[in-house]
């Protein structure tokens, strides 16, 4: 990493510490970065690795507890860390702009979108109010917002999530910055919207010669959009290189593990590679390599001395003793990530006696308006869904946010009463049950939620949380028996029995998700609804949870209704898949058939929009126009036709019938007319 004379941004030996009640956290510990003009440089890392802190300290926007201890941040040769605050304000927005993960909270809800962009324009370019508003409209157009002059006079709540992120980008562009720092810009967005935003960022970079520092945890996003990538672990850059090289030949054991932990179709049937242990606490000084405790190639030296930076040519470098001078590099380079042979993927052939049978499920929420709270319309969150799920099988329900997939999960469990339709579980109609009979039935249907922080009562001990279901169901009235069952359950999900006497906040996200699974298992369910159980987790932890879920299914014969937006997880775990769009299922069938030969244009677009962690992939993304329409006013005819690249007149008039296109593969699309 020699300093290049034409580098736009050079970060050298940056050290940031955060003071917390227990001491000082070295959030960033000696980070070097070089960003060239006009390139997209990605910082890749899991949560807590210090990637956001690095970005915030470039703009000197650290939280109150944070402090830059050492290092320099040079923008075109000027050290930003030594600038007076006054001069720094001129840099922010004008030279370096930043966009954040949550477009929701980055916009002021009481100002119009146009005013917010114009504010930046006026400050940076000194234009009059009217000229600034005109410029704001131009910027909105540049970020691809249709009808920009009307949108400029709207308020943030009138825009969708993807639209807001575009507005945020427009705000960032107002000062015509040389460097745009994008902190997880697409994490809160759906894949089809994510593809749009990434494409927009790339287009702006090419047109304006603007450099982008992209901070992300998503290997796929890096592969799609970055030229160079730095991998961070525990406050340090452990590996850096040209994206294509790094993805083709990851060097650091951590990077290799990350790739191996990604669920993919080739790994079906086998267990995913996991990184044992957790990220070390950054409060203590670690003498050796920070990854050593979790590294399977570590030896004595790794624990004794911190590895230096070893450049390996072509701009690639790695912080690992394996690549020190004098070591036989050829030997230390193992072949790429280990792939479990596909032959191991034997789908369990269970005779499909449907355990769960859903027919014509509808959940409508009334919209009330006016003084008398009259019902003026219905939000058709779920509008006629059919599902079948056999014991020991996994049905994945896939769709973008707002398509109603979570509502389906809740309606199956009767947490929400369906408006119409039938939910038969083991031959019994659940929608007609109520009171104690329903409560009794509940032990056979359980749920694991997405957010491991919200899904547990922070005021209860883990032991009480796991025990609660047994108490409510009256199974195991004896206290000692119950306690030993709790310990067994915790052991079953891979937790220490000592966890019973601790509070949920003492655990990491992955561990909490294990507790949530133990709580569901406590009542011996036959069906578990998994509502995005891994989407709040890091890749390496996600692998652990997916392995656990698969393991439990093999041993206990559980059926999973797996609600997700992550198609890689679907490929790895599911037997069947159902794709939802605006409250209806547009395509369903066995996983192989649907993902390999998608019949519906929406499924095809969804599949193509998923970023693939392979820069050489060269796939064509089908860009969907616009966003998910409101379920209160679904479009006439086929719900998908306004965004469908293959829409015809017929699509605008009538909703297509569902037809079979293969064994168990059914699709609702006019491209596949009933024969």
């Amino acid at each position: 990493m020699t300093a290049s004379p034409r580098a736009l941004l050079e970060v050298r030996d940056l050290r940031v510490s955060l003071s917390v009640p227990g001491g000082t956290v070295r959030a960033v510990d000696g980070v070097d970065l070089t960003v060239m003009p006009g390139e997209t440089h990605a910082i890749l890392g899991e949560s807590g690795c210090g990637k956001s802190m690095t970005a915030l300290s470039i703009l000197r926007l650290l939280p109150a507890a944070g402090r830059v201890v050492d290092g320099s941040v040079r923008l075109d040769g000027t050290d930003l860390l030594r600038l007076p605050e006054d001069a720094m304000r001129a840099v922010r927005g004008r030279r370096v702009a930043m966009i954040f993960q949550e477009p929701q909270s980055s916009l002021n809800p009481v100002l119009t979108v146009g005013d917010q962009i114009a504010e930046g324009v006026r400050r940076h370019q000194g234009l009059s109010r009217r000229a600034a508003l005109r410029r704001a409209v131009e910027l909105l157009e540049a970020v691809g917002i249709p009808d920009p002059s009307r949108r400029a006079s709207e308020y943030p709540h009138q825009l969708s999530g993807g639209m807001k992120q575009r507005v945020m980008i427009a705000t960032a562009l107002a000062g015509e910055p040389d460097l745009l720092i994008a902190d997880e810009p697409t994490t809160a967005l759906d894949v089809t919207i994510q593809a749009q935003v990434l494409e927009l960022l790339d287009q702006l970079r090419r047109e304006r010669g603007m450099a982008v520092l992209l901070i992300t945890h998503d290997l796929g996003v890096v592969a799609e959009s970055a030229q160079r990538v730095a991998v961070m672990y525990a406050g340090q850059v452990v590996e850096e290189g040209v994206t294509a090289d790094l993805f083709a030949r990851p060097l650091h054991p951590y990077t290799r593990k990350l790739f191996a932990a990604l669920p993919a179709v080739g790994k079906r049937g086998g267990a995913l590679e996991v990184i044992p242990g957790t990220v070390p606490s950054l409060t203590a000084h670690v003498p050796g390599c920070r990854f050593a405790p979790r590294c399977d190639q570590a030896w004595a030296l790794c624990r004794a001395a911190a590895p230096g930076w070893h450049p390996l040519g072509r701009g690639q470098g790695v912080r690992c003793h394996l690549y020190a001078e004098g070591r036989d590099r050829a030997r230390s380079l193992p072949p790429g990530p280990a792939v479990v042979p596909a032959s191991m993927a034997v789908p369990r052939d269970v005779t499909p006696t449907p355990l769960l049978r859903v027919r014509g499920l509808q959940v409508h929420f009334p919209i009330r308006r006016g003084l008398l709270q009259r019902v003026v319309g219905q939000v058709r969150a779920v509008d006629g869904v059919d599902l079948d799920l056999a014991a020991g099988r996994t049905l994945a329900l896939v769709g973008e946010s707002g398509c109603g997939k979570t509502t389906v999960g809740h309606a199956v469990l009767q947490l929400l009463r369906p408006t119409a339709g039938s939910v038969r579980f083991d031959g019994e109609e659940l929608t007609r049950l109520s009171g104690p009979r329903l409560r009794q039935r509940r032990r056979e249907l359980q749920i694991v939620f997405q957010d491991p922080y919200a899904s547990m009562n922070p005021r209860m001990l883990v032991g009480d949380i796991v025990e609660e279901g047994m108490l409510a169901q009256g199974t195991l009235p004896d206290r000692t028996a119950r306690r030993s069952r709790v310990a067994d359950l915790l052991a079953q999900v891979g937790l220490d029995p000592g966890a019973t006497d601790r509070y949920p906040h003492e655990f990491s996200g992955g561990q909490r998700q294990r507790v949530a699974i133990a709580r569901a298992l406590a009542v011996e369910p036959r069906l578990v609804v998994c509502d995005e159980p891994t989407s709040a987790l890091d890749v390496s932890v996600q692998a652990q949870i997916l392995n656990l879920l698969r393991n439990l299914q093999d041993h206990l014969g559980l059926a999973y209704l797996f609600i997700t937006h992550n198609l890689a997880v679907v490929e790895y775990l599911a037997h069947e898949v159902a794709v939802m769009y605006l409250g209806r299922i547009v395509e369903r069938g066995p996983v192989g058939a649907v993902l390999r030969g998608p019949a519906h244009p929406y499924t095809r677009a969804l599949l193509s929009a998923v970023p693939v962690p392979d820069p050489a992939g060269g796939r064509a993304v089908i860009h969907l126009e616009g966003e998910l329409p409101s379920p209160s006013q679904p479009p006439r005819g086929c719900h998908f036709h306004p965004r469908c690249p293959e829409a015809r007149d017929l699509c605008r008039e009538s909703y297509p019938e569902t037809v079979g296109v293969g064994t168990g593969h059914r699709v609702a699309c006019h491209l596949h007319p009933p024969s």
Binding site: A65, R442, Q446, R459, Q473
Partner: protein, 473 residues
């Protein structure tokens, strides 16, 4: 030997103490409840205000142990002991001289002579108009001219005794841990004053020292003088101000006790069950909060007054009927003030009932009532606590205002409100009698100020938003 009396408010006050103790024991084992209290104990502001509050509470509790004093002059009646129909408290025993040394009428603080001239019979048909000597105030002085020196001497003695006691207390505080840990006394002593101890003992000791000195000063001075003067009927104003502490505390706490069950039960069930329950509760509190509170209180208190007047036989003593009125006032204040907390709790419960851990409990088949108790209630407890502490000072002030407009406590109950009420006339006369108002103001001010400061600290400690970054970025 003595004949104890349990007044209604006494029973409620001690119930409240019991509830607080049970809650304390419960919180000891719950980290999420213990931690904020530890934070309160770590804040010097909280410790200082808490110490002052504790002093007030001690006075109030001692003043809530009531009995009929034995009549001394009744031996002639034979073996049976005779008790006064009057009701006194343990606190009265401590300050018995203050209670008994009644002058004829007004006298200024530290006065030896009355505040108004009287016609004195000099014998032999001669009469003179002059300021008569007081019966008790400064009665030990043969020459009223030496009053200044006497006061100075007694103040010095009080100050000295206070400081000596305080030094002994501090010494004990340092010596015990020094002996236990085997450390040198001097080192610990210096560490204490440098503020190196883990808890703010320094603040506690300074506050306690100030209070202790005030007490010893009171002991040396109030024994022979009316430190804060006397009122119209010659009663010691210091005594009245001290007795008013209980009235204020009862109003502040018993109203809360009455209000909490309504607010919690109605608030969280409205938020959780929604539908009809929610409609009924909302109807109830919007109706109640649109009736002016003062009207409701006036109506209730006047009704009670009529009842007491019509049923004189139901009450053994004046104290009992006055106590009933105090209780009634607390209840009606509680009934009119639960709506605010209920509204807060309903909103918070609405939010909580959509959180996933509540859904998970529903999915496990946990019954509704159990979800309320185990999942909702512990998660709204911080709101309850903050509201209770914040409302306390408001209720103490409300008593003063209500008594001022004569719909508060019984005129025979000693309260700051009644003291202020009588000050209305005292301020209008010439020369002005200012000490009743000043005493009521000073005592009420210190109680409310320390309660407010304490509430501030409690709110900060329980507010999750001020608890710093909990999740890593």
């Amino acid at each position: 030997m003595i004949s104890p009396v349990v007044l209604w408010t006494d029973a409620l006050v001690f119930t409240l103490v019991g509830v607080a103790v049970v809650f304390g024991l419960y919180a000891r084992r719950r980290e999420h409840l213990r931690e904020p209290w530890r934070r309160v104990a770590r804040s010097p502001k909280g410790v200082s205000a808490g110490t002052v509050l504790a002093a007030f509470v001690a006075i109030g509790l001692l003043d809530s142990l009531h009995f009929h004093p034995r009549l001394e002059g009744a031996e002639a009646g034979g073996s049976a002991e005779h008790y006064s129909t009057e009701v006194a408290s343990v606190f009265d025993l401590l300050v018995w001289p203050l209670r008994e040394r009644v002058e004829k009428t007004y006298s200024a603080p530290f006065a030896t002579h009355a505040y108004a001239k009287e016609t004195i019979d000099l014998g032999g048909g001669r009469q003179a108009r002059e300021y008569p000597r007081l019966v008790h105030g400064g009665a030990h002085l043969s020459d009223a001219g030496t009053r200044g020196a006497d006061i100075a001497l007694r103040s010095l003695a009080g100050l000295g005794a206070g400081i000596a006691l305080w030094l002994a207390l501090v010494g004990l505080f340092v010596a015990v841990p020094a002996a236990r840990r085997g450390e040198r006394f001097g080192r610990l002593w210096r560490a204490l004053w440098a503020g190196h101890w883990q808890w703010p003992w320094r603040t506690f000791l300074v506050t306690a020292g100030v209070l202790l000195t005030l007490v010893t000063l009171g002991v040396t001075l109030a024994g022979t003088y009316h430190v804060l003067g006397t009122d119209k009927v010659g009663q010691d104003v210091l005594y009245q101000a001290l007795k008013s502490v209980r009235t204020g505390l009862v109003i502040g706490t018993v109203s809360t006790l009455v209000m909490l069950p309504f607010a919690i039960a109605l608030g969280i069930s409205a938020g959780y069950f929604r539908g009809l329950v929610d409609d009924v509760v909302q109807y109830l509190y919007t109706t109640l909060s649109s009736i002016p509170g003062v009207l409701l209180i006036a109506a209730a208190v006047l009704m009670l007054q009529v009842y007491v007047a019509n049923h004189p036989d139901d009450f053994e003593s004046l104290a009992e009927s006055a106590d009933l009125r105090l209780l009634f006032l607390s209840i009606i204040l509680g009934v009119t003030s639960w709506t605010g907390l209920a509204r807060l709790l309903r909103a918070e419960t609405l939010k909580l009932s959509q959180v996933e851990f509540v859904l998970a409990a529903q999915a496990l088949g946990v019954a509704g009532g159990r979800i309320l108790v185990r999942h909702i209630l512990p998660n709204v407890m911080h709101i309850v606590l903050i509201t209770v502490v914040l409302d306390f000072s408001g209720l103490v002030l409300a008593e003063a205002v209500l008594s001022y407009v004569s719909i508060g406590v019984d005129p025979t109950t000693i309260s700051w409100g009644n003291m202020i009420n009588s000050a209305r006339l005292e301020l209008a006369r010439e020369p002005v009698v200012w000490w009743s108002l000043a005493a009521a103001f000073f005592f009420m001010f210190s109680l409310v100020l320390s309660a407010n400061l304490f509430a501030d600290v409690v709110r900060d400690a329980f507010d999750p938003r001020l608890r710093g970054s909990e999740r890593p970025a």
